[in-house]
Amino acid sequence: MQIKEKPIIIKLNPSFYSKGAILQTIKDFSSVCSSDLEKKSKFLITINPKKGIDKNELAHEFCNYCLGLMNQ
């Protein structure tokens, strides 16, 4: 997993994170950020947090939420 700032780009391994879980997370986080998904060798999620939202915390919570969905 890699997080790059400005804007935040999260790289997630498709062997562990499904597209469905990522799309659901994007939908559920829409109130705090806008996101975009692209797939190359890994899923690339570009996140633009809304005003007042901590970038690092948002990125980490995003990944945690997505991982939580994988267990369901």
């Binding site: 980490h60 919570e61 945690n64 991982l67 267990n71």
Partner: protein, 151 residues
Amino acid sequence: MEDLNNLGNLKINKAENYIFFSVNPSIFSLEVVYSAAYIMIDKAYIFLDGNPKRSIDIEIRAKKENQDLKRLALEFNNELINYANYKQQNKENKEIREMILQRALQTNLITPEYTEGNIKDPKNIKEAWSEDKRPKKTKNANKRKTNNNQA
């Protein structure tokens, strides 16, 4: 990176405040890793990477400052063992569980003698009561009532 245990698979990076370790998927399956991670996501940030067939790489980052990373990593390991054991027990008890469930469901089957058309109702209990069906009062009943009131 500093080794946390003698197995050498737990490494701590104090500068960046995270722990990294690898799990053998032949010992702890991906399903078990997901279950353990699910328990830990309240306490820390968990990331998965690697190859689910060869080696599952896990990174644990603290949510709060001064959080005990070693403790988190060791807790995660314990949860892995916990869920691996649960999965094993589940597998071994599957047949017994299904048998008990089947037995329980069979005792709730309705037999033909108790179906709607076959129930006998000599006193007409099934039929709903209404004012029309109130029994008419007889003259003797009225006399008895007045005698009781006087007494």
